[in-house]
Symmetry: D2
Subunit: 281 residues, 4 copies
Amino acid sequence: MKFKVTSELSYQFNSPGTLILNIHALRTPDQTVLEELHQVEPYFKSQELVSAHAENRFIRIEIDTPSPIHIKYEALIENATAFIPASELYEVQVKDMDALVLSYLNPSRYCQSDKLYRLANNMFGYIDGAFNKVLALTDWIYYNVEYLSGSTNSQTSAYDTVTEQAGVCRDFAHLGIALCRALTIPARYFTGYSYKLSPPDFHACFEAYLGGKWIIFDATKLCPLNGLVKIATGRDAADTAIASIFGDVLFTSIQVGCEIADENFVPFQYDKADLKGLAYL
Amino acid sequence: MKFKVTSELSYQFNSPGTLILNIHALRTPDQTVLEELHQVEPYFKSQELVSAHAENRFIRIEIDTPSPIHIKYEALIENATAFIPASELYEVQVKDMDALVLSYLNPSRYCQSDKLYRLANNMFGYIDGAFNKVLALTDWIYYNVEYLSGSTNSQTSAYDTVTEQAGVCRDFAHLGIALCRALTIPARYFTGYSYKLSPPDFHACFEAYLGGKWIIFDATKLCPLNGLVKIATGRDAADTAIASIFGDVLFTSIQVGCEIADENFVPFQYDKADLKGLAYL
Amino acid sequence: MKFKVTSELSYQFNSPGTLILNIHALRTPDQTVLEELHQVEPYFKSQELVSAHAENRFIRIEIDTPSPIHIKYEALIENATAFIPASELYEVQVKDMDALVLSYLNPSRYCQSDKLYRLANNMFGYIDGAFNKVLALTDWIYYNVEYLSGSTNSQTSAYDTVTEQAGVCRDFAHLGIALCRALTIPARYFTGYSYKLSPPDFHACFEAYLGGKWIIFDATKLCPLNGLVKIATGRDAADTAIASIFGDVLFTSIQVGCEIADENFVPFQYDKADLKGLAYL
Amino acid sequence: MKFKVTSELSYQFNSPGTLILNIHALRTPDQTVLEELHQVEPYFKSQELVSAHAENRFIRIEIDTPSPIHIKYEALIENATAFIPASELYEVQVKDMDALVLSYLNPSRYCQSDKLYRLANNMFGYIDGAFNKVLALTDWIYYNVEYLSGSTNSQTSAYDTVTEQAGVCRDFAHLGIALCRALTIPARYFTGYSYKLSPPDFHACFEAYLGGKWIIFDATKLCPLNGLVKIATGRDAADTAIASIFGDVLFTSIQVGCEIADENFVPFQYDKADLKGLAYL
């Protein structure tokens, strides 16, 4: 599937500082950046960094003098997603996980799975099969957590959301991840551009490790699961912040877009009548 | 310096399960494992895993049948530490950090630096020089947090400790790390064997990134800074747990030892009269 | 019903100090203290205080010199409980509550009902009738929270327990109260002596305000609901601490007893087949 | 001193419901309500309630049909304040407090003094004299906590504020109270109308129990200490909410005013050069 994605961000730097942006589409074996435009106005020195496991790709901009700054990113992306039969999405045993996958069982800043062990097992432990467990917890979040803009902030974590039951996509993802990890299912945060997200914005959801693959889940159910362009994966939002800002800076505006550049897009959601998993490779 | 380290751990597995231990001395350019003995009784399949950045080295044991299990580790280690003149321990700018170092600015499960920004800057922001800042916050922890066995548990975090002001080495390290990150100084958790720790146990302290090097700090001031053998570094205790246990398991006993196998060991602590940093390479 | 209750507590005062005990059976219209013995050894000046709404009765002991101290309390109590038909346990409207009852809708230290509003309403809001709601939430706590001695401490609150799902009687009561208040049902903490509690100790449960009466609930289901002698009611454990200690003091021992001094005691628990509420008057 | 206070609040009730307002000036021995106007438009049944210790006086309005509602309160108040010499503001011993005063040592929803014991004693325990301790902690809050509208919400507590160091008057008061209680100084929340508050709004500050009197403190230092009209005192904001709303309700507007109706008002703040306490009787 081909996507055309755009984002524009503006800041006012009142002091020299550094801006790290995590808005570029990730390059993976199956996500190809066909065309890409990255503009910074006025000109400041920019540098691309790639994290250890090539899980995100970020741009660091060095603002050496107070200035407004405007960043524009446009890209044409082709990505492949794969449908995996439910029967192959078995629970991977701890003894069979590699070191990187194991690290996605650890609790993290916004996903305190260590505090949710009993809750997760009381609620979902009895369910047969790891894929069914993740589907069930995703549904539980969807039905119980109210999507409410402005109800949470950048410090809100899964431990809060499981009780307060309101939040935005970031909070839905953190809670899904924390519940998975508490059930000994590795899970990681996914940020991306999302087709049909309304109002348009960056989106966050999560991937769970099932049958040796990272399967995508979105407890908000706001957009088609196959309408995503991956920006980054990481332990949680701490690893994948859209923008990290150092200096005396005012955020002034944001605009995000994601269009499908192909015909015949068929929106996909999980459907118990015909169950299969979806993976971004 | 040469060290002889030992640890013995016993568990009772009431079900099949998996045990992941993080008790082996790390192999680094300057920490050499001269001899090493690793025994598991009775025999179960074991496998060594190394994390992405070679920051820890762990052993996974697959217990396929209920059983008591006894692990014994003994090693002869030679490590080098370097003294770095205080004048070289300048504050590294965000624009000069690589992707891995940048990740140690992120808040993590037990080090919620995002919540401590104002506090850290109110308390230590005015101090001149990054090395002095870290020394000052280490002293503040030492003077204000009471070392009190049993006062905290595996869920206690820096956010708790900054207020409750009691804890053990793990809590002292988490608070040190969180304060550093809130001051835009990358910091990471360090677990190791420690000479002269009383009662003998695994030890935790932290490293701050100063002048392009990871400098060691220990807010407990319980042992000489140059009497450590590194087991692992990571974001916090979530990355470097001594033991991760999967299954129905009872912990039964632990014994830890660390002796210096060299003569002429001169215990080292930071001393304002003759200031220099210490790094484990 | 007649009860013989006893408690003995010992402390070591290493400095002069004050000890406030909340271990005396409350005097209410229907709970009569037939006989009572209160001994303090060695002699220190003691004073009885009664709280504003006669909801607790406490003894303040002024230890003016370092000393061990041993307190013994024995009493013969007669109390009446009333069975109220389920049909009379209607939901009282906010417009019909007096000022004191209204105060039991407020969040308190250990019962942060303001944080549980959505959760409580998602879980129990659909249930018909206030009595059924409280029975349902009591059952939910009983089935999901593990009774685990030592799993919590004096700072643990309902907000923790709803997620961590382990605790002792105090935690079960706090969670019950917080859920009730979040459902706009006034609820208060109840401490008392309990017949058949094993091991013997002080007990905590809660009362919900239904049909204009305070109905007793115990999510631990450890003892018969009609086997209690009331010591105090209050917003939560902060108001009704068994002992409040001021000074440099070591707690050394406790012993609690509660026997029925009548024949023909018929243990009572709520039973959906024959539903009625129980009130301590 | 005479004050003219006004407040106007508007709500939209989308369902029948109940509104409890705590905006009336309290009647105390030394605060006289000379004239008072209370209007509800359209007409709904209203009832005045007074809490147990006459610490607040609230109006309950029963909205029996969906409607907008507009409340207007105007009053002419005469109150007396007393200056108490610093020498009389001694620390009251626990053995000399009555039951009501003792209850203001308990931790409460937003003032978790039990968690701040070590911190408060580390920071202020060494200071000589209870009045000086409270002045010092008030100053510490003033200098370290940033007054930042919108930085906190109705769930923010002293435990958050002590670390996050931003908030509004309510948060400043909660932290002051929690620190006092942790130092065994009874303290309570004070809501009122405040002269010279900008922008005009209800104000919150706190009283500490010194020398047998309730002395006023305001860590925001936004207004003169002698320019207040007391609405209520209580354990914290949970007891003294300006408005408690039951039903499907939208808050639409608020307007608050407080003018001095006397000449020769001399604004008063604590001044170390001429130290005396101020009490609202």
